[in-house]
Protein backbone atom coordinates (compact mmCIF):
# COMPACT_ATOMS: atom_id res chain seq x y z
CA UNK A 1 0.00 0.00 0.00
CA UNK A 2 2.85 2.31 0.79
CA UNK A 3 3.98 2.06 -2.79
CA UNK A 4 0.95 4.05 -3.81
CA UNK A 5 1.68 6.87 -1.46
CA UNK A 6 1.75 9.61 -4.11
CA UNK A 7 -1.42 8.41 -5.79
CA UNK A 8 -3.22 8.32 -2.48
CA UNK A 9 -2.11 11.84 -1.72
CA UNK A 10 -3.53 12.92 -5.05
CA UNK A 11 -6.86 11.25 -4.39
CA UNK A 12 -6.99 12.84 -0.96
CA UNK A 13 -6.32 16.24 -2.47
CA UNK A 14 -9.07 15.73 -5.03
CA UNK A 15 -11.51 14.65 -2.38
CA UNK A 16 -10.59 17.62 -0.22
CA UNK A 17 -11.14 19.99 -3.14
CA UNK A 18 -14.56 18.54 -3.70
CA UNK A 19 -15.38 18.83 -0.04
CA UNK A 20 -14.33 22.45 0.21
CA UNK A 21 -16.11 23.21 -3.02
CA UNK A 22 -19.40 21.95 -1.72
CA UNK A 23 -19.07 24.14 1.37
CA UNK A 24 -17.76 27.12 -0.53
CA UNK A 25 -21.16 28.72 -0.59
CA UNK A 26 -20.36 29.91 2.92
CA UNK A 27 -17.15 31.62 1.93
CA UNK A 28 -17.04 35.31 1.27
CA UNK A 29 -17.06 35.99 -2.47
CA UNK A 30 -13.98 38.15 -2.26
CA UNK A 31 -11.85 35.59 -0.46
CA UNK A 32 -13.11 32.81 -2.66
CA UNK A 33 -12.05 34.82 -5.68
CA UNK A 34 -8.56 35.27 -4.27
CA UNK A 35 -8.30 31.55 -3.52
CA UNK A 36 -9.31 30.67 -7.04
CA UNK A 37 -6.77 33.09 -8.44
CA UNK A 38 -4.14 31.52 -6.23
CA UNK A 39 -5.06 28.12 -7.61
CA UNK A 40 -4.87 29.29 -11.21
CA UNK A 41 -1.52 30.91 -10.59
CA UNK A 42 -0.27 27.71 -9.00
CA UNK A 43 -1.14 25.83 -12.17
CA UNK A 44 0.63 28.47 -14.28
CA UNK A 45 3.71 28.55 -12.08
CA UNK A 46 4.07 24.78 -11.75
CA UNK A 47 3.70 24.29 -15.49
CA UNK A 48 6.17 27.02 -16.38
CA UNK A 49 8.53 25.57 -13.79
CA UNK A 50 8.71 22.38 -15.81
CA UNK A 51 9.94 24.34 -18.81
CA UNK A 52 12.05 27.05 -17.19
CA UNK A 53 13.06 25.42 -13.95
CA UNK A 54 13.44 21.73 -14.59
CA UNK A 55 14.42 21.79 -18.24
CA UNK A 56 16.24 25.11 -18.19
CA UNK A 57 14.48 26.55 -21.24
CA UNK A 58 13.67 30.19 -20.83
CA UNK A 59 10.15 30.67 -22.12
CA UNK A 60 8.68 34.15 -21.95
CA UNK A 61 5.45 33.32 -23.72
CA UNK A 62 3.45 31.30 -21.22
CA UNK A 63 0.57 33.76 -21.37
CA UNK A 64 0.10 32.93 -25.04
CA UNK A 65 -0.79 29.33 -24.18
CA UNK A 66 -3.03 30.58 -21.43
CA UNK A 67 -4.77 32.74 -24.03
CA UNK A 68 -5.25 29.82 -26.39
CA UNK A 69 -6.76 27.76 -23.61
CA UNK A 70 -8.95 30.62 -22.48
CA UNK A 71 -10.26 31.39 -25.94
CA UNK A 72 -10.49 27.76 -26.97
CA UNK A 73 -12.54 26.67 -24.00
CA UNK A 74 -14.70 29.80 -24.06
CA UNK A 75 -15.56 29.37 -27.70
CA UNK A 76 -16.59 25.79 -26.99
CA UNK A 77 -18.90 26.78 -24.14
CA UNK A 78 -20.23 29.84 -25.91
CA UNK A 79 -20.86 28.23 -29.27
CA UNK A 80 -21.55 24.63 -28.37
CA UNK A 81 -22.42 24.93 -24.70
CA UNK A 82 -26.14 24.51 -25.08
CA UNK A 83 -25.80 21.54 -27.39
CA UNK A 84 -23.39 19.83 -25.04
CA UNK A 85 -25.63 20.38 -22.05
CA UNK A 86 -28.44 18.65 -23.85
CA UNK A 87 -26.17 15.71 -24.66
CA UNK A 88 -25.42 15.25 -21.00
CA UNK A 89 -29.00 15.38 -19.87
CA UNK A 90 -30.02 18.98 -19.58
CA UNK A 91 -29.17 21.40 -16.79
CA UNK A 92 -27.65 20.23 -13.53
CA UNK A 93 -24.16 19.85 -12.21
CA UNK A 94 -23.36 16.64 -14.06
CA UNK A 95 -24.09 18.18 -17.43
CA UNK A 96 -22.34 21.40 -16.60
CA UNK A 97 -19.36 19.58 -15.21
CA UNK A 98 -19.04 17.39 -18.25
CA UNK A 99 -19.41 20.32 -20.61
CA UNK A 100 -16.83 22.32 -18.75
CA UNK A 101 -14.46 19.38 -18.63
CA UNK A 102 -14.69 18.90 -22.38
CA UNK A 103 -14.27 22.61 -23.04
CA UNK A 104 -11.20 22.77 -20.81
CA UNK A 105 -9.59 19.79 -22.45
CA UNK A 106 -10.24 21.11 -25.94
CA UNK A 107 -8.77 24.48 -25.01
CA UNK A 108 -5.75 22.89 -23.37
CA UNK A 109 -5.20 20.55 -26.29
CA UNK A 110 -5.17 23.48 -28.69
CA UNK A 111 -2.59 25.12 -26.46
CA UNK A 112 -0.53 21.94 -26.40
CA UNK A 113 -0.69 21.63 -30.16
CA UNK A 114 0.47 25.19 -30.53
CA UNK A 115 3.21 24.49 -28.02
CA UNK A 116 4.37 21.64 -30.20
CA UNK A 117 4.28 23.75 -33.36
CA UNK A 118 6.21 26.58 -31.76
CA UNK A 119 8.52 24.37 -29.74
CA UNK A 120 9.71 22.07 -32.49
CA UNK A 121 11.64 24.73 -34.40
CA UNK A 122 12.43 27.14 -31.57
CA UNK A 123 13.78 24.76 -28.97
CA UNK A 124 16.85 24.18 -31.06
CA UNK A 125 17.82 27.79 -30.37
CA UNK A 126 20.08 29.11 -27.68
CA UNK A 127 18.68 30.29 -24.36
CA UNK A 128 18.43 34.00 -24.94
CA UNK A 129 17.10 33.57 -28.47
CA UNK A 130 14.41 31.22 -27.25
CA UNK A 131 13.35 33.88 -24.76
CA UNK A 132 12.91 36.43 -27.51
CA UNK A 133 11.13 34.02 -29.83
CA UNK A 134 8.64 33.03 -27.15
CA UNK A 135 8.17 36.69 -26.36
CA UNK A 136 7.58 37.38 -30.04
CA UNK A 137 5.17 34.51 -30.24
CA UNK A 138 3.27 35.92 -27.28
CA UNK A 139 3.01 39.22 -29.11
CA UNK A 140 1.91 37.55 -32.34
CA UNK A 141 -0.91 35.72 -30.58
CA UNK A 142 -2.02 38.93 -28.96
CA UNK A 143 -1.90 40.86 -32.23
CA UNK A 144 -3.74 38.10 -34.10
CA UNK A 145 -6.48 37.93 -31.49
CA UNK A 146 -6.82 41.71 -31.38
CA UNK A 147 -7.22 41.88 -35.13
CA UNK A 148 -9.97 39.31 -35.43
CA UNK A 149 -13.42 40.49 -36.34
CA UNK A 150 -15.21 42.20 -33.49
CA UNK A 151 -18.39 40.29 -34.08
CA UNK A 152 -16.76 37.00 -34.90
CA UNK A 153 -16.13 34.07 -32.57
CA UNK A 154 -12.95 35.63 -31.19
CA UNK A 155 -14.37 39.01 -30.40
CA UNK A 156 -11.53 41.16 -31.68
CA UNK A 157 -9.91 43.69 -29.41
CA UNK A 158 -12.75 43.62 -26.92
CA UNK A 159 -12.61 39.87 -26.55
CA UNK A 160 -15.37 37.61 -25.30
CA UNK A 161 -18.06 38.29 -22.75
CA UNK A 162 -20.78 36.45 -20.90
CA UNK A 163 -18.76 33.30 -20.46
CA UNK A 164 -20.48 30.81 -18.19
CA UNK A 165 -19.04 30.97 -14.67
CA UNK A 166 -18.30 27.27 -14.45
CA UNK A 167 -15.10 27.66 -12.49
CA UNK A 168 -15.35 26.72 -8.86
CA UNK A 169 -13.06 25.61 -6.08
CA UNK A 170 -13.15 21.97 -7.05
CA UNK A 171 -12.11 22.50 -10.66
CA UNK A 172 -9.30 24.87 -9.87
CA UNK A 173 -7.76 22.86 -7.09
CA UNK A 174 -8.37 19.51 -8.70
CA UNK A 175 -6.40 20.68 -11.73
CA UNK A 176 -3.78 22.23 -9.49
CA UNK A 177 -3.41 18.98 -7.56
CA UNK A 178 -3.13 17.00 -10.77
CA UNK A 179 -0.57 19.45 -12.13
CA UNK A 180 1.57 19.29 -9.01
CA UNK A 181 1.29 15.53 -8.86
CA UNK A 182 2.02 14.80 -12.47
CA UNK A 183 4.91 17.19 -12.83
CA UNK A 184 6.68 16.32 -9.61
CA UNK A 185 6.19 12.59 -10.12
CA UNK A 186 7.38 12.87 -13.67
CA UNK A 187 10.55 14.68 -12.73
CA UNK A 188 11.32 12.22 -9.96
CA UNK A 189 11.19 9.19 -12.21
CA UNK A 190 14.19 7.99 -14.12
CA UNK A 191 12.57 9.20 -17.32
CA UNK A 192 12.07 12.58 -15.72
CA UNK A 193 15.70 12.91 -14.69
CA UNK A 194 16.30 13.53 -18.33
CA UNK A 195 14.79 17.01 -18.03
CA UNK A 196 17.27 17.94 -15.34
CA UNK A 197 20.13 16.45 -17.32
CA UNK A 198 19.16 18.56 -20.32
CA UNK A 199 19.11 21.61 -18.10
CA UNK A 200 22.48 20.93 -16.53
CA UNK A 201 24.42 20.08 -19.65
CA UNK A 202 22.83 19.54 -23.03
CA UNK A 203 25.91 18.19 -24.68
CA UNK A 204 26.62 15.68 -21.94
CA UNK A 205 22.95 14.68 -21.91
CA UNK A 206 23.01 14.01 -25.63
CA UNK A 207 26.16 11.98 -25.23
CA UNK A 208 24.43 9.87 -22.61
CA UNK A 209 21.75 8.91 -25.10
CA UNK A 210 19.12 11.43 -24.04
CA UNK A 211 17.21 12.92 -27.00
CA UNK A 212 17.67 16.54 -25.98
CA UNK A 213 15.33 18.34 -28.36
CA UNK A 214 12.57 15.81 -27.77
CA UNK A 215 12.76 16.37 -24.02
CA UNK A 216 12.63 20.11 -24.45
CA UNK A 217 9.59 19.86 -26.69
CA UNK A 218 7.83 17.47 -24.31
CA UNK A 219 8.38 19.85 -21.41
CA UNK A 220 7.17 22.74 -23.52
CA UNK A 221 4.04 20.90 -24.64
CA UNK A 222 3.14 19.75 -21.13
CA UNK A 223 3.70 23.28 -19.88
CA UNK A 224 1.49 24.64 -22.64
CA UNK A 225 -1.24 22.11 -21.88
CA UNK A 226 -1.48 23.12 -18.24
CA UNK A 227 -1.28 26.79 -19.14
CA UNK A 228 -4.21 26.15 -21.44
CA UNK A 229 -6.14 24.56 -18.59
CA UNK A 230 -5.34 27.54 -16.41
CA UNK A 231 -6.54 29.82 -19.17
CA UNK A 232 -9.82 27.98 -19.46
CA UNK A 233 -10.37 28.13 -15.71
CA UNK A 234 -9.47 31.81 -15.76
CA UNK A 235 -11.92 32.56 -18.55
CA UNK A 236 -14.81 30.84 -16.81
CA UNK A 237 -14.01 32.66 -13.59
CA UNK A 238 -13.72 36.17 -14.95
CA UNK A 239 -16.46 35.56 -17.55
CA UNK A 240 -14.75 38.18 -19.73
CA UNK A 241 -11.47 37.84 -21.57
CA UNK A 242 -9.58 40.18 -23.87
CA UNK A 243 -6.31 39.84 -25.77
CA UNK A 244 -4.55 42.46 -23.67
CA UNK A 245 -4.95 40.34 -20.58
CA UNK A 246 -2.54 37.79 -22.02
CA UNK A 247 0.31 40.06 -22.95
CA UNK A 248 3.99 39.98 -22.11
CA UNK A 249 3.35 41.35 -18.61
CA UNK A 250 1.20 38.35 -17.79
CA UNK A 251 4.03 36.09 -18.89
CA UNK A 252 6.42 38.07 -16.72
CA UNK A 253 4.04 37.62 -13.77
CA UNK A 254 4.43 33.86 -14.06
CA UNK A 255 8.18 34.11 -14.63
CA UNK A 256 8.52 36.11 -11.42
CA UNK A 257 6.72 33.34 -9.54
CA UNK A 258 9.06 30.71 -10.91
CA UNK A 259 12.15 32.73 -10.15
CA UNK A 260 11.04 33.68 -6.67
CA UNK A 261 10.13 30.12 -5.89
CA UNK A 262 13.35 28.68 -7.19
CA UNK A 263 13.64 27.35 -10.68
CA UNK A 264 13.20 23.64 -10.32
CA UNK A 265 11.43 23.51 -7.02
CA UNK A 266 7.76 22.62 -7.17
CA UNK A 267 7.19 23.42 -3.52
CA UNK A 268 8.98 26.73 -3.94
CA UNK A 269 6.93 27.89 -6.91
CA UNK A 270 3.68 26.90 -5.24
CA UNK A 271 4.59 29.03 -2.25
CA UNK A 272 5.71 31.83 -4.55
CA UNK A 273 2.44 31.66 -6.47
CA UNK A 274 0.49 32.04 -3.24
CA UNK A 275 2.68 34.87 -1.99
CA UNK A 276 2.61 36.80 -5.23
CA UNK A 277 -1.13 36.42 -5.78
CA UNK A 278 -1.75 37.76 -2.30
CA UNK A 279 0.79 40.52 -2.88
CA UNK A 280 -1.04 41.41 -6.07
CA UNK A 281 -4.24 41.78 -4.09
CA UNK A 282 -2.64 44.09 -1.55
CA UNK A 283 -1.12 46.17 -4.28
CA UNK A 284 -4.31 46.28 -6.32
CA UNK A 285 -4.97 49.80 -5.16
CA UNK A 286 -1.41 50.74 -5.91
CA UNK A 287 -1.28 49.45 -9.45
CA UNK A 288 1.47 51.89 -10.27
CA UNK A 289 3.74 50.45 -7.63
CA UNK A 290 2.91 46.83 -8.28
CA UNK A 291 5.11 46.43 -11.31
CA UNK A 292 7.89 48.40 -9.67
CA UNK A 293 7.78 45.98 -6.78
CA UNK A 294 7.80 42.99 -9.13
CA UNK A 295 10.68 44.44 -11.12
CA UNK A 296 12.70 45.03 -7.97
CA UNK A 297 11.97 41.48 -6.85
CA UNK A 298 13.37 40.18 -10.12
CA UNK A 299 16.51 42.27 -9.97
CA UNK A 300 17.25 41.67 -6.32
CA UNK A 301 16.53 37.95 -6.51
CA UNK A 302 18.90 37.52 -9.41
CA UNK A 303 21.71 39.35 -7.67
CA UNK A 304 21.22 38.10 -4.15
CA UNK A 305 19.59 34.70 -4.34
CA UNK A 306 19.24 33.37 -7.86
CA UNK A 307 18.38 29.89 -6.71
CA UNK A 308 15.08 31.15 -5.36
CA UNK A 309 13.63 31.30 -1.88
CA UNK A 310 13.08 27.56 -1.56
CA UNK A 311 15.48 25.97 -3.99
CA UNK A 312 15.13 22.35 -4.96
CA UNK A 313 16.37 20.29 -2.06
CA UNK A 314 15.03 16.95 -3.05
CA UNK A 315 17.75 16.10 -5.53
CA UNK A 316 19.83 14.50 -2.89
CA UNK A 317 17.43 13.52 -0.18
CA UNK A 318 16.10 10.01 -0.54
CA UNK A 319 15.86 10.21 -4.28
CA UNK A 320 16.83 6.61 -4.77
CA UNK A 321 13.23 5.70 -4.54
CA UNK A 322 11.59 6.84 -7.75
Amino acid sequence: MKHYHPQLCLLAALAASLGVSLCSGNLDEYYLDILLNIGINIILAVSLNLVNGYTGQFSLGHAAFMAVGAYGSSIVTLQMGKALLVVFGGAGWVAEGATFCIALIIGASCAALLGWLVGMPSLRLRGDYLAIVTLGFNEIIRVVLTNTAGDGPFGGALGLKSIEPYTNFFWVFAVAAIAIYSISMLVRSTYGRGFLAVRDDEIAAGSMGIPVVRYKVIAFVIGAFYAGLAGGLFAHLRTTIAPDGFNFLKSVDVVVMVILGGMGSTVGVVVAAVVLTVLNEFLRDFEQYRMIVFALILIIMMIVRPQGLLPAGFSWKGNRRA
Binding site: G56, F58, L60, P121, S122, L125, G127, D128, Y129, A131, I132, V133, L135, G136, F137, E139, I140, V143, V144, T146, N147, I203, V252, V255, I259, Q288, Y289, M291, I292, F294, A295, L296, I297, L298, I299, M302, I303, P306
Partner: protein, 307 residues
Protein backbone atom coordinates in the same frame (compact mmCIF):
# COMPACT_ATOMS: atom_id res chain seq x y z
CA UNK B 1 4.81 53.62 -58.29
CA UNK B 2 5.11 56.96 -56.60
CA UNK B 3 3.35 55.62 -53.58
CA UNK B 4 5.86 52.79 -53.48
CA UNK B 5 8.80 55.16 -53.46
CA UNK B 6 7.13 57.31 -50.86
CA UNK B 7 6.67 54.26 -48.64
CA UNK B 8 10.27 53.29 -49.26
CA UNK B 9 11.41 56.69 -48.12
CA UNK B 10 9.21 56.58 -45.06
CA UNK B 11 10.63 53.20 -44.25
CA UNK B 12 14.12 54.55 -44.71
CA UNK B 13 13.59 57.25 -42.12
CA UNK B 14 12.04 54.83 -39.66
CA UNK B 15 14.69 52.24 -40.40
CA UNK B 16 17.53 54.62 -39.68
CA UNK B 17 16.13 55.10 -36.18
CA UNK B 18 15.78 51.36 -35.70
CA UNK B 19 19.39 51.10 -36.83
CA UNK B 20 20.55 53.50 -34.14
CA UNK B 21 18.88 51.45 -31.45
CA UNK B 22 20.02 48.18 -32.98
CA UNK B 23 23.62 49.33 -32.83
CA UNK B 24 23.38 49.55 -29.05
CA UNK B 25 21.99 46.02 -28.78
CA UNK B 26 24.64 44.61 -31.02
CA UNK B 27 27.54 46.35 -29.32
CA UNK B 28 26.47 45.22 -25.86
CA UNK B 29 25.95 41.69 -27.14
CA UNK B 30 29.37 41.79 -28.68
CA UNK B 31 31.17 42.59 -25.44
CA UNK B 32 28.92 40.88 -22.92
CA UNK B 33 27.15 38.20 -24.89
CA UNK B 34 23.77 39.15 -23.54
CA UNK B 35 20.65 40.90 -24.76
CA UNK B 36 20.09 44.10 -22.85
CA UNK B 37 16.35 44.02 -22.55
CA UNK B 38 16.31 47.48 -21.02
CA UNK B 39 17.88 49.12 -24.06
CA UNK B 40 14.56 50.11 -25.58
CA UNK B 41 13.72 51.99 -22.40
CA UNK B 42 16.83 54.13 -22.72
CA UNK B 43 15.36 55.13 -26.07
CA UNK B 44 12.25 56.25 -24.20
CA UNK B 45 14.30 58.08 -21.59
CA UNK B 46 16.17 59.84 -24.36
CA UNK B 47 12.91 61.25 -25.64
CA UNK B 48 11.88 62.39 -22.18
CA UNK B 49 15.22 63.98 -21.39
CA UNK B 50 14.93 65.74 -24.71
CA UNK B 51 11.53 66.98 -23.64
CA UNK B 52 12.66 68.28 -20.27
CA UNK B 53 15.91 69.68 -21.58
CA UNK B 54 14.16 71.73 -24.21
CA UNK B 55 11.81 73.03 -21.56
CA UNK B 56 14.67 73.90 -19.24
CA UNK B 57 16.73 75.45 -21.97
CA UNK B 58 13.89 77.15 -23.80
CA UNK B 59 15.22 80.68 -23.32
CA UNK B 60 18.55 79.59 -24.78
CA UNK B 61 16.88 77.68 -27.58
CA UNK B 62 14.83 80.70 -28.49
CA UNK B 63 17.91 82.69 -29.40
CA UNK B 64 19.94 79.95 -31.02
CA UNK B 65 19.32 78.99 -34.64
CA UNK B 66 17.45 75.72 -34.68
CA UNK B 67 20.26 73.45 -35.88
CA UNK B 68 22.29 74.44 -32.86
CA UNK B 69 19.28 74.07 -30.67
CA UNK B 70 18.57 70.51 -31.61
CA UNK B 71 22.25 69.66 -31.58
CA UNK B 72 22.52 70.95 -28.05
CA UNK B 73 19.48 69.03 -26.83
CA UNK B 74 20.68 65.95 -28.62
CA UNK B 75 24.17 66.07 -27.16
CA UNK B 76 23.09 66.77 -23.62
CA UNK B 77 20.48 64.07 -23.79
CA UNK B 78 22.96 61.59 -25.14
CA UNK B 79 25.39 62.41 -22.36
CA UNK B 80 22.76 62.02 -19.68
CA UNK B 81 21.54 58.71 -21.01
CA UNK B 82 25.08 57.46 -21.50
CA UNK B 83 25.63 58.08 -17.83
CA UNK B 84 22.42 56.28 -17.03
CA UNK B 85 23.40 53.31 -19.13
CA UNK B 86 26.75 53.10 -17.38
CA UNK B 87 25.04 53.28 -14.00
CA UNK B 88 22.64 50.47 -14.91
CA UNK B 89 25.46 48.24 -16.03
CA UNK B 90 27.39 48.92 -12.88
CA UNK B 91 24.50 48.32 -10.50
CA UNK B 92 22.49 45.56 -12.10
CA UNK B 93 24.62 43.65 -14.58
CA UNK B 94 28.15 43.81 -13.24
CA UNK B 95 27.39 41.73 -10.11
CA UNK B 96 26.25 38.97 -12.45
CA UNK B 97 29.32 39.01 -14.65
CA UNK B 98 30.22 35.37 -14.05
CA UNK B 99 26.76 33.96 -13.69
CA UNK B 100 24.80 32.09 -16.36
CA UNK B 101 23.58 34.33 -19.16
CA UNK B 102 19.95 33.57 -18.35
CA UNK B 103 20.24 35.20 -14.93
CA UNK B 104 21.37 38.45 -16.48
CA UNK B 105 18.57 38.26 -19.03
CA UNK B 106 16.04 38.02 -16.23
CA UNK B 107 17.66 40.96 -14.46
CA UNK B 108 17.48 42.94 -17.68
CA UNK B 109 13.76 42.29 -17.88
CA UNK B 110 13.49 43.53 -14.32
CA UNK B 111 15.45 46.67 -15.12
CA UNK B 112 13.30 47.31 -18.16
CA UNK B 113 10.10 47.05 -16.18
CA UNK B 114 11.56 49.16 -13.42
CA UNK B 115 12.44 51.95 -15.82
CA UNK B 116 9.06 51.83 -17.56
CA UNK B 117 6.95 51.90 -14.45
CA UNK B 118 9.08 54.41 -12.61
CA UNK B 119 8.84 56.62 -15.66
CA UNK B 120 5.10 56.17 -15.58
CA UNK B 121 5.12 57.19 -11.96
CA UNK B 122 7.14 60.33 -12.55
CA UNK B 123 6.09 61.41 -16.00
CA UNK B 124 2.51 60.24 -15.94
CA UNK B 125 0.95 57.65 -18.17
CA UNK B 126 -0.63 60.02 -20.63
CA UNK B 127 1.02 60.90 -23.88
CA UNK B 128 2.97 64.11 -23.94
CA UNK B 129 3.66 66.20 -26.98
CA UNK B 130 7.26 66.52 -28.00
CA UNK B 131 8.50 70.02 -28.75
CA UNK B 132 9.22 70.91 -32.33
CA UNK B 133 12.96 71.19 -32.42
CA UNK B 134 13.04 71.09 -36.18
CA UNK B 135 10.78 73.57 -37.88
CA UNK B 136 8.18 72.01 -40.10
CA UNK B 137 8.33 72.40 -43.78
CA UNK B 138 8.88 70.41 -46.89
CA UNK B 139 12.19 69.97 -48.55
CA UNK B 140 10.28 69.44 -51.69
CA UNK B 141 10.28 66.42 -53.87
CA UNK B 142 9.42 65.06 -57.22
CA UNK B 143 5.79 65.11 -58.21
CA UNK B 144 3.70 63.75 -55.41
CA UNK B 145 6.71 62.61 -53.41
CA UNK B 146 7.23 64.48 -50.24
CA UNK B 147 10.10 64.76 -47.81
CA UNK B 148 9.73 67.00 -44.81
CA UNK B 149 12.56 68.87 -43.24
CA UNK B 150 12.19 66.80 -40.12
CA UNK B 151 12.56 63.57 -42.00
CA UNK B 152 15.65 64.77 -43.76
CA UNK B 153 17.31 65.94 -40.57
CA UNK B 154 16.46 62.65 -38.89
CA UNK B 155 18.11 60.73 -41.67
CA UNK B 156 21.17 62.94 -41.78
CA UNK B 157 21.63 62.85 -38.02
CA UNK B 158 21.24 59.10 -37.89
CA UNK B 159 23.75 58.61 -40.66
CA UNK B 160 26.16 61.03 -39.04
CA UNK B 161 25.94 59.19 -35.75
CA UNK B 162 26.46 55.84 -37.42
CA UNK B 163 29.45 57.20 -39.25
CA UNK B 164 30.78 58.61 -36.00
CA UNK B 165 30.36 55.22 -34.35
CA UNK B 166 32.28 53.54 -37.12
CA UNK B 167 35.11 55.99 -36.63
CA UNK B 168 35.19 55.29 -32.92
CA UNK B 169 35.10 51.53 -33.36
CA UNK B 170 37.63 51.36 -36.17
CA UNK B 171 40.00 54.23 -35.53
CA UNK B 172 40.31 54.74 -31.80
CA UNK B 173 42.09 52.73 -29.15
CA UNK B 174 38.88 52.31 -27.21
CA UNK B 175 37.22 50.97 -30.32
CA UNK B 176 40.06 48.53 -30.78
CA UNK B 177 39.66 47.45 -27.18
CA UNK B 178 35.94 46.90 -27.77
CA UNK B 179 36.63 44.71 -30.75
CA UNK B 180 39.29 42.75 -28.89
CA UNK B 181 37.00 42.24 -25.94
CA UNK B 182 34.19 40.99 -28.11
CA UNK B 183 36.47 38.44 -29.73
CA UNK B 184 38.16 37.11 -26.62
CA UNK B 185 37.67 38.63 -23.17
CA UNK B 186 40.40 36.62 -21.51
CA UNK B 187 43.01 37.51 -24.07
CA UNK B 188 42.08 41.17 -24.14
CA UNK B 189 42.42 41.38 -20.37
CA UNK B 190 45.81 39.75 -20.61
CA UNK B 191 46.81 42.28 -23.22
CA UNK B 192 46.25 45.08 -20.77
CA UNK B 193 42.70 46.02 -21.65
CA UNK B 194 40.65 47.04 -18.64
CA UNK B 195 37.56 45.04 -19.51
CA UNK B 196 35.34 46.79 -17.00
CA UNK B 197 36.13 50.22 -18.42
CA UNK B 198 35.53 49.03 -21.97
CA UNK B 199 32.23 47.47 -21.01
CA UNK B 200 31.11 50.67 -19.31
CA UNK B 201 32.14 52.64 -22.35
CA UNK B 202 30.22 50.32 -24.64
CA UNK B 203 27.11 50.68 -22.55
CA UNK B 204 27.49 54.43 -22.51
CA UNK B 205 27.96 54.58 -26.25
CA UNK B 206 25.01 52.32 -26.97
CA UNK B 207 22.79 54.25 -24.60
CA UNK B 208 23.80 57.54 -26.18
CA UNK B 209 22.78 56.22 -29.58
CA UNK B 210 19.49 54.95 -28.21
CA UNK B 211 18.81 58.33 -26.65
CA UNK B 212 19.51 60.02 -29.95
CA UNK B 213 17.13 57.57 -31.56
CA UNK B 214 14.50 58.53 -29.03
CA UNK B 215 14.76 62.22 -29.80
CA UNK B 216 14.75 61.65 -33.53
CA UNK B 217 11.77 59.31 -33.26
CA UNK B 218 9.93 61.83 -31.12
CA UNK B 219 10.66 64.47 -33.72
CA UNK B 220 9.02 62.30 -36.36
CA UNK B 221 6.13 61.11 -34.21
CA UNK B 222 5.84 63.87 -31.62
CA UNK B 223 3.90 62.06 -28.93
CA UNK B 224 5.77 60.31 -26.17
CA UNK B 225 4.71 58.01 -23.37
CA UNK B 226 6.53 55.77 -20.89
CA UNK B 227 6.01 52.58 -22.85
CA UNK B 228 7.05 53.93 -26.22
CA UNK B 229 10.33 52.08 -26.05
CA UNK B 230 8.93 48.56 -25.98
CA UNK B 231 7.97 48.02 -29.59
CA UNK B 232 10.79 49.96 -31.24
CA UNK B 233 13.18 48.26 -28.82
CA UNK B 234 12.00 44.80 -29.78
CA UNK B 235 12.04 45.62 -33.47
CA UNK B 236 15.52 47.03 -33.17
CA UNK B 237 16.57 43.85 -31.43
CA UNK B 238 15.20 41.86 -34.33
CA UNK B 239 17.14 44.17 -36.62
CA UNK B 240 20.33 43.39 -34.73
CA UNK B 241 19.68 39.66 -35.00
CA UNK B 242 18.78 40.02 -38.66
CA UNK B 243 22.08 41.67 -39.40
CA UNK B 244 24.02 39.26 -37.28
CA UNK B 245 24.14 39.96 -33.58
CA UNK B 246 27.49 41.45 -32.63
CA UNK B 247 28.02 42.76 -36.14
CA UNK B 248 27.86 46.54 -36.35
CA UNK B 249 27.23 47.10 -40.07
CA UNK B 250 24.74 44.25 -39.78
CA UNK B 251 22.75 46.14 -37.19
CA UNK B 252 22.51 49.16 -39.46
CA UNK B 253 21.48 46.99 -42.38
CA UNK B 254 18.97 45.13 -40.26
CA UNK B 255 17.43 48.34 -39.02
CA UNK B 256 16.89 49.61 -42.53
CA UNK B 257 15.39 46.33 -43.69
CA UNK B 258 12.97 46.15 -40.80
CA UNK B 259 11.96 49.78 -41.16
CA UNK B 260 11.29 49.48 -44.87
CA UNK B 261 9.50 46.14 -44.62
CA UNK B 262 7.28 47.30 -41.82
CA UNK B 263 6.31 50.49 -43.63
CA UNK B 264 5.62 48.65 -46.86
CA UNK B 265 3.47 46.07 -45.12
CA UNK B 266 1.53 48.76 -43.31
CA UNK B 267 1.17 50.83 -46.44
CA UNK B 268 -0.02 48.00 -48.62
CA UNK B 269 -1.94 46.13 -45.96
CA UNK B 270 -5.23 46.67 -47.73
CA UNK B 271 -3.84 45.21 -50.91
CA UNK B 272 -2.55 42.12 -49.16
CA UNK B 273 -5.77 41.78 -47.28
CA UNK B 274 -4.55 41.95 -43.72
CA UNK B 275 -5.51 44.50 -41.11
CA UNK B 276 -2.96 47.27 -40.68
CA UNK B 277 -2.65 46.32 -37.02
CA UNK B 278 -0.36 43.56 -38.16
CA UNK B 279 2.48 45.98 -38.81
CA UNK B 280 3.87 45.26 -35.38
CA UNK B 281 3.94 41.56 -36.05
CA UNK B 282 6.15 41.99 -39.13
CA UNK B 283 9.32 42.23 -37.12
CA UNK B 284 8.49 39.08 -35.18
CA UNK B 285 7.74 37.12 -38.28
CA UNK B 286 11.10 38.22 -39.68
CA UNK B 287 12.72 37.16 -36.40
CA UNK B 288 11.23 33.70 -36.54
CA UNK B 289 12.21 33.27 -40.18
CA UNK B 290 15.76 34.39 -39.56
CA UNK B 291 16.18 32.16 -36.51
CA UNK B 292 14.83 29.22 -38.41
CA UNK B 293 16.87 29.63 -41.55
CA UNK B 294 19.97 31.65 -40.73
CA UNK B 295 20.38 32.17 -37.00
CA UNK B 296 23.76 33.81 -37.40
CA UNK B 297 22.12 36.62 -39.33
CA UNK B 298 22.84 38.11 -42.72
CA UNK B 299 26.33 39.31 -41.96
CA UNK B 300 27.15 37.30 -38.88
CA UNK B 301 29.37 34.28 -38.48
CA UNK B 302 28.49 30.99 -36.87
CA UNK B 303 29.75 30.52 -33.35
CA UNK B 304 30.58 27.00 -32.35
CA UNK B 305 30.51 25.82 -28.78
CA UNK B 306 33.76 24.16 -27.78
CA UNK B 307 33.06 20.70 -26.48
Amino acid sequence: MEQFIQQLLNGLFLGSIYALIALGYTMVYGVLRFINFAHGDIFMLGAYTGLYLSKALSPLLAVLPWPFGIALVLLLSMLLCAGLGIAIEFLAYRPLRDKPRLNVLITAIGVSLLIEYTAQLFFGATQRPFPTLIPAGNVGGIGALNVTQTQLIVLITALALMFGLRQVVMNTRMGLAMRALSLNPTASALMGVNNSVVISFTFGLGSALAAAGGILYASLYPSIEPFMGILPGLKAFVAAVLGGIGNIPGAALGGLIIGITETLVAGYSQNIGIPSGYRDAVAFVILILILLFKPSGLLGKVEREKV
